[in-house]
Symmetry: D2
Subunit: 387 residues, 4 copies
Amino acid sequence: MSSHRKLRYGMIGGGRGAFIGGVHRIAAIMDGQAVLTAGAFSSDAARSKASGEDLFLDPSRVYGSYQEMAAAEAKMPADQRLDFIVIVTPNHQHFPPAKLFLEAGFNVVCDKPVTFNLAEAKKLAAVVKKSKKVFVLTHNYTGNAMVKQARELVQAGALGEIRKVVAEYPQGWLSTLLEKTGQKQAGWRTDPKRSGAAGCIGDIGTHAENLARYITGLHIDTLCADLTTFVKGRALDDDGNILVRFKGGAKGIIHASQISVGEENALNIRVYGTKAGLEWHQEHPNQLLVKYPDKPTEIWGRGNGYVGKAAGAVTRTPSGHPEGYLEAFGNIYKEAFRAIRAEVSGEPIPADVDFPTITDGVEGMAFIETVVKSSKAGAKWVKFPKV
Amino acid sequence: MSSHRKLRYGMIGGGRGAFIGGVHRIAAIMDGQAVLTAGAFSSDAARSKASGEDLFLDPSRVYGSYQEMAAAEAKMPADQRLDFIVIVTPNHQHFPPAKLFLEAGFNVVCDKPVTFNLAEAKKLAAVVKKSKKVFVLTHNYTGNAMVKQARELVQAGALGEIRKVVAEYPQGWLSTLLEKTGQKQAGWRTDPKRSGAAGCIGDIGTHAENLARYITGLHIDTLCADLTTFVKGRALDDDGNILVRFKGGAKGIIHASQISVGEENALNIRVYGTKAGLEWHQEHPNQLLVKYPDKPTEIWGRGNGYVGKAAGAVTRTPSGHPEGYLEAFGNIYKEAFRAIRAEVSGEPIPADVDFPTITDGVEGMAFIETVVKSSKAGAKWVKFPKV
Amino acid sequence: MSSHRKLRYGMIGGGRGAFIGGVHRIAAIMDGQAVLTAGAFSSDAARSKASGEDLFLDPSRVYGSYQEMAAAEAKMPADQRLDFIVIVTPNHQHFPPAKLFLEAGFNVVCDKPVTFNLAEAKKLAAVVKKSKKVFVLTHNYTGNAMVKQARELVQAGALGEIRKVVAEYPQGWLSTLLEKTGQKQAGWRTDPKRSGAAGCIGDIGTHAENLARYITGLHIDTLCADLTTFVKGRALDDDGNILVRFKGGAKGIIHASQISVGEENALNIRVYGTKAGLEWHQEHPNQLLVKYPDKPTEIWGRGNGYVGKAAGAVTRTPSGHPEGYLEAFGNIYKEAFRAIRAEVSGEPIPADVDFPTITDGVEGMAFIETVVKSSKAGAKWVKFPKV
Amino acid sequence: MSSHRKLRYGMIGGGRGAFIGGVHRIAAIMDGQAVLTAGAFSSDAARSKASGEDLFLDPSRVYGSYQEMAAAEAKMPADQRLDFIVIVTPNHQHFPPAKLFLEAGFNVVCDKPVTFNLAEAKKLAAVVKKSKKVFVLTHNYTGNAMVKQARELVQAGALGEIRKVVAEYPQGWLSTLLEKTGQKQAGWRTDPKRSGAAGCIGDIGTHAENLARYITGLHIDTLCADLTTFVKGRALDDDGNILVRFKGGAKGIIHASQISVGEENALNIRVYGTKAGLEWHQEHPNQLLVKYPDKPTEIWGRGNGYVGKAAGAVTRTPSGHPEGYLEAFGNIYKEAFRAIRAEVSGEPIPADVDFPTITDGVEGMAFIETVVKSSKAGAKWVKFPKV
């Protein structure tokens, strides 16, 4: 069937009081390509209903559980059928609905980290493969235009051979025992039963790793991680410093923190090659610094004529009209929609679609597990597993 | 009738190749509160149809002219009737559709500057008043959270008495005769028949004036403007430097330029009072600098707990997750929707809605005309008219 | 006689409690080329003696007045004779000692503005000419390496034809009636008998004008100045906004303020030409932004191999080792010493010495007087006089 | 004897073509407190003579070797005797002259790292102790006013308990095999016989460690270092990434690099405590960021009334008049002179003098050796030795 219409989607999680669900909803619709049509916004049926009402949904398509939703939505006629499902629950609730909906024939967009642990991620990879559906993992920061520009410069050889990568992600919001105050976001992120084996590293360290990999194309060979739980009474790490050796000889540092008091969301990356270096700051995402040994540092600005194809393709506003977090998130959807529209129309997925996949998810989970393993062993060097 | 549903809107202008129409479409829908339902996207009927198709519209509600649209849409039943109209045509095509739709009983959102000239603006003010409909002018930069914070600080007396304002808006994109290359945006903006009496000043100088007024609450008493057309063959000003004396004794500088080569969209403002000063940069809109005589300069960051109510009310993402141009634009809509929903439901407009109105539009047109008058007189001081 | 030795200098003014005298002393000696040998540091003989003792001077060469000093020092034998005199008194005390020492055969370095008024400046120009001595005016900001780089880029045509200049110099330290608290620096600067016809404009506005002229080579044709005294009880302007039309057609804005609360010493300049633009901030002087219509903005860093000859010649430390206010001040001396050593040795002054001269001083005084004239006439456009 | 006169000093090393010697000469004299009087500028006697002539020295006090100089200068009468010696030779030539001059009764200022290896440093500590002379180590970056402010804030408890420190020092100038081109600075720094066991880590990593220790007062307990030599043909490390565990529980990252292409001299530090965080950038040294969990980030500016005593004591110019690398270097001398003047006058050294000492030198050498040991062992965790 033709996909020249707004895509219909349903959401799992993201009810009242959630954070990332609202972000996904903005990101999914900003380009007028999709419409929220159904949802199981909470495992509390009343809360789910109320959230559906907030969102102007037809009550008949608001469910008390994702299982109920899967059962009902699978029966919808073609002209009402959901084109994709968005999963925005805490980590431990990624795998079950993802598997269920993929197997029911729906395309799936899932928040990161992809699953609760590496074993689940591998299982999900098999499910995705078998399903032949589109699976999108929202490592949203790679949606930034200037991140794509950075990647394009690396791929074009502008940096020469990469030697060093410094990726960091300091925040300060968990510098006290916020999870004990009833703050919902802090609650599940610091709970090993919902978050997984890592706290800070799973929540944000994995973004730093993903960003480094996306830009440089480098894969970790071994790492040495020193995780710390600074806040007494907390169950998971709230800070982590990691030395990295990439395959091929580049070295790196990845550090993340949620106790770096006063920091907001300072995901930053620097990459140095033999010919040039790069620097990008998530909080000022419209600029990319390019540094040279023998000429002035350049400030590349999003939206200018000189930026490359990849960045140009995800540009909504002219240079100087700053795009931000939501637009970058929307870019993941923008690319995902190209794949989903193809899938829905029974056409081949375009070869050049650019969004994080289950493969990225598996590598991300392997990163988390390797970091935790290293740290638990006393911050020893540990080989990155084959994934 | 209840307005607990997505608001339906129609658009005038904004077809293929347009810039600001696309911005409005994103801004209008990003919070999931509205849906584009109809449009007359171009005075070229085929182009309008094609644009409607791009936007997944029902072809029956895509029109070849705004007149046709007004006639047809006025007859729609309540459950399909448009709740508001968005006008995104060049300046000379603001007044006619605005008047038509207001008189036909529709709420109207209109791009700036509000009309082709001051006389039209005054007429439109009368139309708005008589219509009792909501009229929203998208001076979008005042939608920025930290601009609202700046205003709140001024209103709370944190700056003391305002002494000096420096508002500037340099761009560089018109540093050559771009309008002769077929570039559509350059074409109408430099054409006196479509843009009005001013070029750069009407297009962006008026944003600077509006921003200064919004933050400080000050109104211009007299001004002295030196406009220049640097690019040979251009019909309107592409640069303007203006000395300003505000009512009450504050002094100011407003300057705007489209030949400041290498500048992207550098709308910046500094305000100095007896107690403190402010500085805000549109290209880095999530920060607001607050300066004091006797303590460290502060960087206020959007989304933090310490920001005030006005900024907090338009915050979608946490601190460090940058919002940008589109979110600020969306904030104008966010506030407008509060008024439009009230109007649609027959309820009183909330007293605290915060968006630019026809009054701002009239003052903006008075600014443009006064600047042009001053400059034509040889950059003499001219009294700002009563509006 | 050979000048291959440290140059000996005497200072007029700059005793205990002074500001700029200490700056000159550091700037003069930092390169090990000069030694303070004599001084009349205050018109209060005891204070002068005490200051001389602070500075480890031979008491026999510390004087109670500059007249006494001139009389005594003129008789010194060649091997003890001062090579130059540094005048760092308030403005009204520049001309008398400058004239006296020049006529007594000494080279003179004088702080800015060069004299109390334009008439004196013109007289001094005649004295300098007749004396055949070296006269140096310390418009110190032009000593910055990256300012020299900016000038070199303009001279090389990298900017094309200059269209617009924005030079600004906001400070906040005089936002209250500081002069009534006994603060010495505020005292004389706000006193018409010591400072001259202008306050803020004479003290710092003239730096902005000089910087713009140095970088661009442009001379003002007409200007329109709106000076204000915001602080009640103050005798001179503490803020000024000036529209400028340069000879040749470029336009400009020069503004200066001492009531821009929270600003420290924010001398900034932006220059836009047909091909490129420049931006430099005195508070971060090691960087120069160069902006283009069609390629990334460049950050030129002092001390790098790609910087030009002029900047390279005044570079003491490698890139990344920031030079500041004192080094820039020292660069004026560095260039001055090339001239003074030539003069002392009876050799011709090198053609390429680069420091502000009496000509700059006269133009600066003309600027001050024209600005005051314009403002007093109600902020009218006034023709810049021939100087 | 009284020290109310300029102090006389002699220099070892720093002849033509040297870098740091010139820096020391400016730093030593900028406040008019000292005068270069003698020197052995090179082990090449002719070069030493030529350098002395460049510096306007009396040829009789310019020597062909430091041994010769020590012998001759020790015999000088009191009124000509050197008050201190400055050693600016490559690392392997620190210990011999330091020992010789200390034992000959001279105060000594020595460039960092203090010696060729830890064993020498310990020996030198014994020599210093026995000599009762002043020994100053020029870890110059701790001379920055805002670094002192940072330390004062930590000491005052403004940060609470320190949790995390990130100190980094990337440069790019050795990203190629520069040492093989005859570049003198690259030559000795990459030569194990002159530089010691480490390259990049000894040259600049030790500055980062010293800075972290100075500001926080924390001492390293264990570390894990991964050093790399990226440039083929180079004998020493040109990059190093180090995980650190401080005594008391804080964690840290120290990384330094000379192959981070495009970086100039980016020594930066961030410190996070339970109450607040700090950030300082050497390339913009006049600002210190102070970050809080619940209020705006503050930009503390050097020279303002609100800065503390320590920063105030080393301030030469008002706020907004940037001080840089040389002034910070001069501040080490400024404090050293307080000690040296006391020593020369036979008075007790003031208790509050603030400059790096032999103790810092020993700890710095221990850092270098521990880092090298860790890296050679395969980047294993190694206990910091007792020093």
